[in-house]
């Protein structure tokens, strides 16, 4: 048995506080229904982090999605992919036949900049904002000689260039390494252009069993884990081990390796995140992720394009929406519908999302899914 994505949809990814969560969800879900050529579902899984209580039901009843189970999950930045992972499991087990996955986040009405550190968390209470958490990893990488500041910046240069080809992306442009490194310092060594923006957006996908339609995209594997202890014994930077273990599990289920994958959408909330993640996924050795991006291999047209959508850095990072947005991008890529950012002959794609914010462990959750093939 295999679960398939019948259709996907999304709003634009932007600072658009004039739109309600309901407006954004309606846009994404109605596009997904049209794309899937269906009109009803048997259940809904929703990923959101800061969504108001009932955010999904408040949105869905206005477009006639009522009377079915609606299940909302929170797994920090991996909330959307957690919803996808669970929806796929529901299809595989036969619990529900056709399932809607929604990711939604409205952030700009709530935050002026970086999301506030969680005051019930030991490190959050000490003022460790998310850019600081990733900056601590970046500083360690620079100290170890695993990457250079210029290589970090090249992730931003690449993903902003990719964003140019994505009409839904928040940002896109030709920027230089010098501009990235010269932008406003946020948390040393990370500068403004190395940090994802906050966004308001929704994305949706409709899943079900095989129905014999050529446009449907198989979810070949999906793995989800929460982190082990990250402590004085940890040689790896925060998150690396969790992504690596989750990826190994997903690749084993799919029966493929990273070398078989044509296109990746990964969690580049900060530049260092993409470098560490490409290493954890097996695209490079530890300490080789910086050279990988510098080589052009992860640019569209390279051997293993990463984040053709622009990634979180340029497409935007509406937390709970992001995982579904990544999956939608891979679906478009595998169908050949990605327009100016199309990866030629993409047949197998990977989505990776990483959620954090709980100190003491290696991550709240990571999801790695393998699509297509």
């Amino acid at each position: 048995m295999t679960a398939f994505v019948y259709g996907v949809g999304s709003s634009r990814y932007a600072k658009q506080p004039h739109l309600s969560a309901g407006d954004l969800v309606a846009e994404a879900v109605l596009e997904a229904f049209g794309d899937a050529a269906v009109d009803t579902v048997d259940a809904v899984w929703v990923g959101t982090v800061f969504g108001a209580t009932g955010v999904a039901q408040r949105a869905l009843h206005r477009i006639g999605v009522t009377d079915v189970p609606v299940i909302t999950v929170e797994n920090a930045c991996a909330s959307g992919t957690t919803a996808l992972h669970e929806a796929r499991a529901a299809v595989l087990t036969g619990r529900y036949e056709r399932v809607l996955v929604v990711g939604v986040e409205t952030m700009t009405a709530e935050f002026d900049g970086a999301i506030h550190p969680e005051q019930t968390d030991a490190e959050g209470r000490q003022g460790l904002a998310f850019p600081g958490l990733y900056a601590l990893a970046a500083a360690r990488y620079l100290h170890e000689g695993y990457a250079t500041p210029e290589q970090l910046a090249q992730v931003a240069v690449k993903n902003h260039r990719h964003g140019l080809g994505n009409p839904r992306a928040q940002y896109g442009g030709e920027i230089t390494v010098e501009e990235v490194l010269g932008s406003r310092p946020i948390a040393d060594p990370l500068t403004l252009l190395q940090c994802c923006p906050i966004s308001d957006a929704a994305a949706a996908a409709i899943l079900g069993p095989e129905r014999g339609q050529a446009r449907d995209v198989a979810i070949r594997a999906s793995a989800m884990r929460s982190g082990g202890l990250w402590d004085h014994r940890s040689e790896s930077v925060w998150g690396f081990d969790l992504v690596r273990e989750t990826a190994l599990q997903a690749f084993a289920e799919a029966g493929v390796g990273p070398e078989d994958v044509d296109v990746f959408e990964v969690h580049d909330a900060f530049t260092i995140g993409e470098i560490v993640t490409t290493e954890a996924l097996g695209l490079a050795e530890v300490g080789g992720g910086g050279a990988l991006v510098a080589s052009g291999a992860t640019t569209i047209g390279g051997a293993t394009p990463v984040n053709p959508s622009g990634g979180l850095l340029a497409r935007g990072h509406p937390l709970g929406c992001t995982g579904v947005a990544q999956a939608a991008e891979i679906v478009w890529q595998l169908r050949g519908e990605a327009g100016g950012r199309q990866v030629v002959d993409a047949r197998l794609g990977v989505v990776e999302t990483m959620g954090g914010g709980v100190s003491g462990i290696d991550g709240n959750a990571c999801v790695v899914a393998v699509l297509g093939g």
Binding site: G113, A114, G127, A187, D231
Partner: protein, 127 residues
């Protein structure tokens, strides 16, 4: 409908406790009686092997694992401020503020300072 939320957050302080013992500052945590795993908190049982833990104080010395300086506004904080992961000697890794606007380097030696007035863990360079 939901009730009205309190205007200010009054949650229990989740940070490790820093105490002054003699002339030095230490973090009051716990160590596993079975595997020896050190925790910076009074954990109910060992996070690594689930065995019984005993209270233990860690520090004051430690080594910097990584450090950053936060330069953006964070509620209740005045940037810039530096935060470092410190591997306390034979103890846990803790996040600490670098005291008094000083600087520390990765691999450098530090000692706990404090307890700070506002409850943060603080360290200073001893090099």
């Amino acid at each position: 409908m939901m009730g009205t939320r309190k205007a200010s957050l009054t949650v229990p302080d989740p940070r490790p406790s820093v105490v002054e013992q003699g002339s030095v500052a230490r973090v009051l945590g716990a160590r596993c009686s079975s595997c020896g795993y050190p925790s910076a908190f009074a954990v109910p049982r060992c996070p690594a092997c689930r065995a019984v833990v005993c209270p233990e104080a860690f520090g004051p010395g430690g080594t910097v694992w990584s450090v950053t300086t936060i330069r953006i506004p964070v509620p209740g904080r005045t940037p810039p401020y530096s935060l470092a992961y410190i591997d306390l000697d034979d103890g846990p890794r803790v996040l600490a503020h670098v005291s008094g606007g000083g600087s520390v380097e990765i691999g450098g030696r530090v000692q706990l300072v404090g307890p700070g007035a506002d409850g943060d863990i603080e360290v200073e360079s001893t090099e």
